[in-house]
């Protein structure tokens, strides 16, 4: 530490330059983390808040678009409910629609069809819970856009009118669109494109998107066996996020950017300490000649790298949090949470240390003999 500290303060310009690169990458990491969490919330928060353990979709449905392609018979729900370890199972409908409010405001909605009063039906924090056909309970965030209890939203093209009876607590979104809960029969008619007053074809009330399943507490349900018996394709709630539009592509893009940044940061740090170590070669030869052990030299250099990396990451993350607090209040899908931020910053330090360690290992190859003039 004796030498490490004094070098940091002596060559502070050079170290500050290096530190600011790491700090900027740290800042970028915080913003990316916020964007990731924001996008996840925007994409699947409506699903995350469901009390569901797994969904049973149509057999062999495309797993990346299961919610828009799958059709199951509502009777399958009862068969699922009878399986061992399943507490409850009920039909669930999910479809994207364009609607217009009384005030001519266009609102895109993810219509979730549920049976009112069932375990799947949500609590309304404003207004009333869903009671029957023709009603809708909307995501709480829509209140900010001027929608109120008693308003009527009209489904475009077919003209179905839905009365807003209540609002949910906070953000509920699916595929970057706000969620609205309706009665399952209403959902079935909207999905089938049945206009109000028209006769409803027989099969319409038989269809749902999937069966929502809730396991009994601590139960371990064999999904594969149940699928085989009942002719469905199950996904756990987590897996079903991947069936939300764009979800997988967004997350993998951000993760790729993150990993590129980690690698870049580790390489830059490694290159910096390689240059520093090469520049210090004569100095290191002198230190070894006067009896400094390899352990002493490695410990000193690694302490220096650790101070630089941790210090600049903390500065970068701090700046990122400040900047992020500003972005959070904007309409961008952005949310800062402690765990993802820490998980994003930690590899920056760890990989940076690996880069620095590889660089400072050169110390062991410096021959103390070169400290003598005649051997230079």
């Amino acid at each position: 530490m004796f030498l490490a500290w004094r070098e940091l303060s002596f060559a502070r310009g050079r170290f500050a330059l290096m530190g600011s690169v790491v700090a900027l990458i740290g800042l970028l990491m915080v913003l990316l983390s916020g964007l990731s969490v924001g996008l996840v919330n925007d994409g699947v928060s409506g699903l995350q808040k469901l009390p569901v353990s797994s969904f049973a979709f149509q057999s062999e449905v495309d797993k990346t678009s299961a919610f828009s392609r799958s059709v199951v018979d509502v009777d399958v729900a009862q068969q699922w409910a009878d399986r061992d370890g399943v507490a409850e199972a009920t039909p669930f409908g999910n479809t994207l629609v364009n609607t217009t409010t009384d005030d001519d405001v266009d609102i895109d909605l993810a219509l979730f069809g549920v049976e009112p009063g069932s375990w799947l039906a949500p609590e309304a924090t404003t207004g009333a819970a869903l009671a029957g056909p023709g009603e809708i309970v909307l995501a709480g965030t829509l209140q900010d856009e001027g929608v109120a209890v008693g308003d009527v939203v009209t489904v475009d093209q077919i003209g179905t009118e839905l009365e807003v009876v209540g609002f949910l607590d906070g953000q509920h979104t699916y595929g970057h669109v706000d969620v609205g809960y309706v009665d399952l029969t209403t959902w079935q008619e909207v999905r089938a494109g049945v206009r109000p007053g028209e006769p409803v074809p027989d099969h319409v009330h038989d269809d749902a998107t999937a069966v929502a399943v809730r396991f009994a507490d601590g139960a371990d349900v064999d999904l594969a066996a149940a699928d085989a018996a009942l002719g469905t394709t199950s996904m756990t709630l987590e897996q079903s996020f991947g069936a939300s539009p764009g979800y997988t592509a967004e997350i993998s893009t951000l993760q790729m950017i993150q990993w590129f940044l980690y690698v870049i940061s580790a390489l830059v740090v490694g290159a910096f300490f390689t240059v520093v170590t090469i520049q210090r070669r004569h100095e290191i030869a002198v230190l070894r000649a006067v009896g400094a052990s390899t352990r002493y030299l490695l410990r000193d250099s690694l302490t220096q790298s650790a101070v630089l990396l941790v210090g600049s990451t903390v500065v970068g993350v701090g700046a990122g949090l400040l900047l992020g607090a500003g972005i959070s209040s904007s309409p961008m899908p952005f949310a800062l949470e402690a765990a993802p931020v820490a998980a994003a910053a930690a590899p920056l330090v760890v990989l940076g240390m690996i880069g620095a360690a590889i660089a400072v290992l050169r110390i062991t190859r410096v021959d103390p003999l070169t400290a003598l003039g005649g051997y230079r």
Binding site: R6, A289, G291, G373, G374
Partner: protein, 225 residues
């Protein structure tokens, strides 16, 4: 005191290179320096002067012969043990000081004490005063060549070594400064009872030394002129 041996080199041979192009850097060299004695080794470049310092300092293990510092025999010691001997028993004074650019004069002296436990550490401030240094908070870039060399000498004495090895101390100094620095070395060697070997090109400073040796093609003999 004068009977205590600081350095004893006996029948040391060192061959550089391998195969056809070998150079005998040290050819059956023997040299004994008592505690407090100050000897000089002169000779042309490539004559083996640096090799002598390297062997005496435990930086190279000779092909044959024996090196003893105080009561420690260097023969057969591991690289780790040799580093330990260098740290505790030997002081090095390098060409133009070889100070660390990031350390102030007083920190240059504290450094050897941070490398490990030292049996008889000296007080840095006292030692700086001894070598006539007043600019204690200055880094090497603010020190003159003579001052750097004074700090280098003081640094080498911090651990109260048995042996002081001095490599061309006047290479970067003018005549006047050279005299001062070598006079200081001679004084410190006597005052601290440390066996001192100085390798130099500079014949003007030899008047400060006890025995003067001449190195020629790896053979060491007492200079007669």
């Amino acid at each position: 005191m004068a009977t205590r041996t600081g350095l004893e080199i006996a029948g040391v041979t060192l061959v550089h290179g391998d195969g056809e192009s070998t150079v005998t850097a040290l050819d059956d060299v023997s040299l004994t320096v008592a505690a407090g004695e100050f000897v000089a080794v002169v000779g042309p470049s490539g004559s083996g002067k640096s090799s002598l310092l390297a062997v005496a300092g435990g930086l190279i293990t000779p092909d044959s012969g024996r090196v003893r510092i105080g009561d420690t025999d260097l023969t057969g010691l591991s690289a780790r043990r040799l580093a330990e001997v260098r740290r505790t028993r030997i002081g090095f004074v390098f060409r133009s000081g070889n100070l660390l650019p990031s350390l102030t004069a007083v920190d240059q002296l504290r450094l050897p004490l941070t490398l490990g436990r030292v049996a008889r550490p000296r007080d840095p401030m006292e030692l700086l005063a001894d070598v006539g240094m007043t600019h204690r908070a200055h880094r090497p870039d603010k020190l003159s060549g003579g001052e750097r060399q004074r700090v280098g000498i003081a640094r080498a004495l911090m651990t109260s070594p048995d042996l002081l090895l001095v490599d061309e101390p006047t290479a970067a100094l003018d005549r006047h400064r050279s005299q001062e620095v070598v006079a200081l070395l001679a004084h410190e060697a006597h005052a601290n009872g440390v066996a001192t070997v100085m390798v130099t090109h500079d014949h003007d400073v030899l008047s400060h030394c006890g025995t003067v040796y001449r190195m020629m093609d790896g053979i060491l003999e007492v200079a007669t002129d």
